[in-house]
């Protein structure tokens, strides 16, 4: 149960990070101005968020897989 919950939370956090990266990149809802993000630093933030998001999703999926297997 703990494994499934943590796996799900981690995957959701990762997924939100990826969605946020694309929102930031395409400047939906004028989010770049809202967060005072300059165009020079945008690639760095995007890269960091994408790496964080991807790792979180994969790690979370491992835990989810284990959670479902043990049922």
């Amino acid at each position: 149960m703990l494994t499934t919950t943590i796996g799900m939370l981690q995957s959701v956090i990762g997924g939100l990070a990826v969605i946020f990266t694309y929102t930031l990149h395409f400047n939906f809802f004028d989010v770049q101005t809202m967060l005072n993000i300059t165009s020079e630093l945008l690639p760095l933030y995007s890269f960091a968020l994408i790496v964080f998001g991807s790792f979180s999703i994969i790690s979370g999926l491992f835990l989810l897989h284990e959670g479902f297997e043990s049922r």
Binding site: I6, N36, F55, S56, S59, F62, E66
Partner: protein, 499 residues
């Protein structure tokens, strides 16, 4: 692996003879197949954006794309005749390199076909939207669902119908070109202009790279082609050359009739120009032609992506479940459904330009691998029987790789980041199969702990005022602590996995 090549080639040739299909496609019909496999509704829609980038120099861009594609088509022909049971980049890479190179090629081939299916469906919806006020993402999704069902039930790959449909589309396009040519006689001489300079022209080339994709459909139909060792290479090259003429005349007439800056704003520039040239009836006619091409392209892309996923599963790279076939229809239904779910998610966004760049990224990788596979097999197996030999070796394949990779510089950065992500996932999927699940989980456990620790440090720095956020979010520290806690716990759970 290389010893297996002769065996595979022999088996392939034998397979060609016992598929139970009658060999009735000659050079003309095989060429039509290559042309039909390439014409897609998406191609006519994306011309608008490309014209906006390159201006009237789009004519040169289209010819350049055709030449780059032709360079790889030669390699395709040679490999297709050595490994006749295949016909895809994945199989070529499997025979020439094997291992991770084969897997990553198959992976990107699957993804680019998936993106291509999304592009074709969104393109189809855009074309129809010129006359009928429809919801573009919803229509695109509906089309994918319909063709997924058709593919699960089993679609006949090649036939007389496809040749007739291609001829119909070509006839409609010929009427369009002829009308434009007649009207252009009374105009001032044509002038090439590129408002965004050379960079704009290169961006347009990277954007239109996928224009000529699909001529390899000839290789897929080899079971029905007369004298395939000779006919397939000829048909592939002839269809590539014919496509260069078709696309060049279409864009010439288009930019000649309506100024490029107006075309760049049109959802379906060809339909817009057709209405300008031939009135409402002409626009309807062109819409019908493009829609026919679009429907065939959606069907082919869905079929292709599921077959690659099926092959990757059959070769042990992906879970076995993806290789299951339907009891009643004998189709790889799991692979079809899985691929279609991703395609639907993509098509639902309606971001046509993003999807186009993604298609191009996948095919640039695929094209580079085909050329690399040719070079590798020429060096390792120089005496292998080659019914067709790619001309200009090694210069042309190297130029093919160089030009394809050069276009990567002009692809949307967000798509390149996504490509990097997809490569990481591919690497992971491959190594999970190769070096074991437990080790990978241990590595991810460590990474999660590291991220958790880093986020905790970040939370501390924000709370203590070392890092100031503008605008200030009071809840940010609590959010960061929560993320850190989840990652630390996930790290511990992943590390304590039982092997």
């Amino acid at each position: 692996m290389l010893r297996n090549l002769e065996k595979q080639a022999t088996e392939g040739r034998a397979e060609m003879g016992k598929e139970g299909l009658r060999r009735e496609l000659g050079l003309l019909r095989a060429t039509l197949l290559g042309i039909g496999g390439t014409l897609s509704a998406g191609n006519f829609v994306i011309l608008g954006h490309a014209i906006g980038l390159a201006g009237s120099a789009i004519v040169i861009v289209v010819i350049s794309c055709g030449i780059i594609s032709l360079l790889t088509m030669f390699s395709y022909c040679e490999l297709g005749t050595i490994i006749p049971s295949a016909g895809s980049e994945y199989t070529f890479a499997k025979v020439a390199y094997g291992g991770f190179t084969a897997f990553i090629t198959g992976w990107f081939e699957w993804l680019s076909n998936m993106f291509y299916a999304a592009l074709s469906s969104v393109g189809f919806a855009y074309v129809i939207s010129y006359f009928v006020p429809i919801n573009i993402p919803l229509t695109a999704v509906l089309m994918i669902i319909i063709f997924t069902i058709i593919n699960i039930r089993g679609a006949k790959e090649v036939g007389t119908t496809e040749s007739l449909l291609t001829l119909t589309v070509l006839a409609i396009l010929a009427i369009y070109v002829f009308s434009g040519w007649l009207q252009s006689q009374a105009m001032s001489p044509f002038e090439l202009s590129a408002p965004k300079g050379l960079t704009g022209a290169f961006q347009a080339t990277a954007f239109l790279f996928e224009l000529y994709l699909g001529a390899e459909a000839v290789a897929v139909a080899q079971g029905e082609i007369k004298n395939p060792e000779k006919t397939i290479p000829r048909a592939m090259i002839l269809s590539s050359l014919a496509l260069i003429v078709i696309y060049t005349t279409i864009v010439y007439v288009t930019v000649r009739t309506v100024p490029p800056d107006i075309l760049g704003e049109q959802a379906s520039p060809i339909t817009y120009v057709a209405e300008h040239l031939m009135g409402k009836l002409g626009a309807v006619l062109v819409t019908i032609g493009i829609a026919i091409a679009g429907l065939a392209a959606i069907n082919e892309a869905i079929m292709a992506q599921s077959r690659i996923l099926f092959a990757l599963s059959r070769d042990g790279y992906l879970p076995r479940a993806l290789g299951r076939t339907h009891r009643r229809f004998s189709t790889p239904h799991v692979a079809i459904v899985v691929s279609s779910v991703f395609t639907i998610a993509l098509a639902a966004t309606g971001f046509i330009n993003f999807i186009v760049y993604a298609v191009n990224l996948g095919f640039i990788i695929g094209f580079s691998t085909v050329n690399l596979s040719l070079i590798k097999l020429r060096r390792r197996r120089p005496r292998l029987r080659r019914p067709f030999k790619a001309p200009g070796y090694p210069i042309l394949p190297v130029v093919g790789i160089g030009t394809s990779l050069f276009l990567l510089l002009f692809i949307e950065p967000a798509v390149l980041i996504m490509g990097l992500e997809l490569s990481i996932i591919a690497l992971l999927a491959y190594y999970i199969r190769m070096i074991g699940y437990t080790r990978i989980r241990l590595a991810f456990g460590g990474l999660s702990l590291g991220i958790g620790g880093f986020v905790a440090l970040l939370a501390y720095l924000v709370r203590s005022g070392f890092i100031s956020l503008t605008p200030n979010f009071p809840a940010i520290t609590n959010i960061l602590i929560f993320i850190s806690a989840v990652h630390v716990l996930a790290g511990i759970l992943n590390i304590t996995v039982k092997s």
